[in-house]
Symmetry: C2
């Protein structure tokens, strides 16, 4: 995939999120970067603030759960499976420190992990995968999110 | 606490949520009921919908995490501790079935559990508590949320 195609992919994902999950518009969620293996989402603090002036734990969760979901969505689209649904099945979220600025989430899916996921998916039409998403603040991990996602018809 | 005082408490909580956590306004979050021990929150489907036409997993999380947070907020206010902060420390969320209508969360805090939480809080100024929140659809549990909250100065 060249840079132009990747930029188009990012713009399509942004549009999909805003159209299909309207709360992402209210959060100001942005697809920040995608290099084919790592996806980054971001959101400004103001619409996602809490009573303590830092990022609301629910918004942090949303930026994390959508990072994993979106990366799988991109990978299934690239594999010619745009009609597969992806759902979150279970998630664990650890809040390690408050986030006092923009919300940034990062998720990476290696080729090996992707292959392990694609094999049962293509064979049985259904597969599950566990993804880790981190939210960083400066150089430190502020939130650790682990989500089990299922792809199915 | 009589019915009038409880109604006033519900209205104050509603106002606090809308003022302090603005995303709750966009979600249409409502404080649905409070009997002194059990708190119910609700939100309409439309602003919280996902690509599948059911409730977005992130919105379900928000309605759950805020139910536990709000119940603790009410209990600390009633105990004369309105200045204590409450933060979510860790959460586990299990999605058992999709929610195709209004989002309803319920959390109960028994007097015994509250006492266990209040003792270290009054002694050391800090305490943690694990709360379970459920989201029901008709008579079935759609989402099981377990959150560890910390109250501190």
């Amino acid at each position: 995939m060249n840079d132009n195609a990747r930029q188009q992919t990012v713009e399509q994902l942004q549009q999909t999120l805003y159209t299909d999950i309207p709360l992402t518009r209210e959060m100001g969620l942005r697809v920040a970067a995608y290099d084919g293996q790592t996806l980054q989402l971001s959101a400004p603090l103001a619409p996602n603030v809490n009573d303590k002036g830092t990022a609301f734990g629910g918004s942090l969760y949303n930026v994390a759960v959508l990072c994993g979901w979106s990366l799988l969505r991109l990978k299934l689209n690239e594999a010619g499976l745009p009609r597969k649904n992806i759902v979150i099945h279970e998630a664990n979220t650890r809040y390690l420190q408050p986030v006092s600025g923009e919300l940034h989430s990062t998720c990476t899916l290696t080729d090996d992990a992707l292959n392990e996921f694609m094999q049962p998916l293509q064979k049985k039409g259904r597969a599950r995968i566990t993804l880790t998403v981190t939210i960083h603040q400066q150089d430190q991990t502020a939130v650790e999110f682990t989500g089990q996602y299922v792809a199915l018809d």
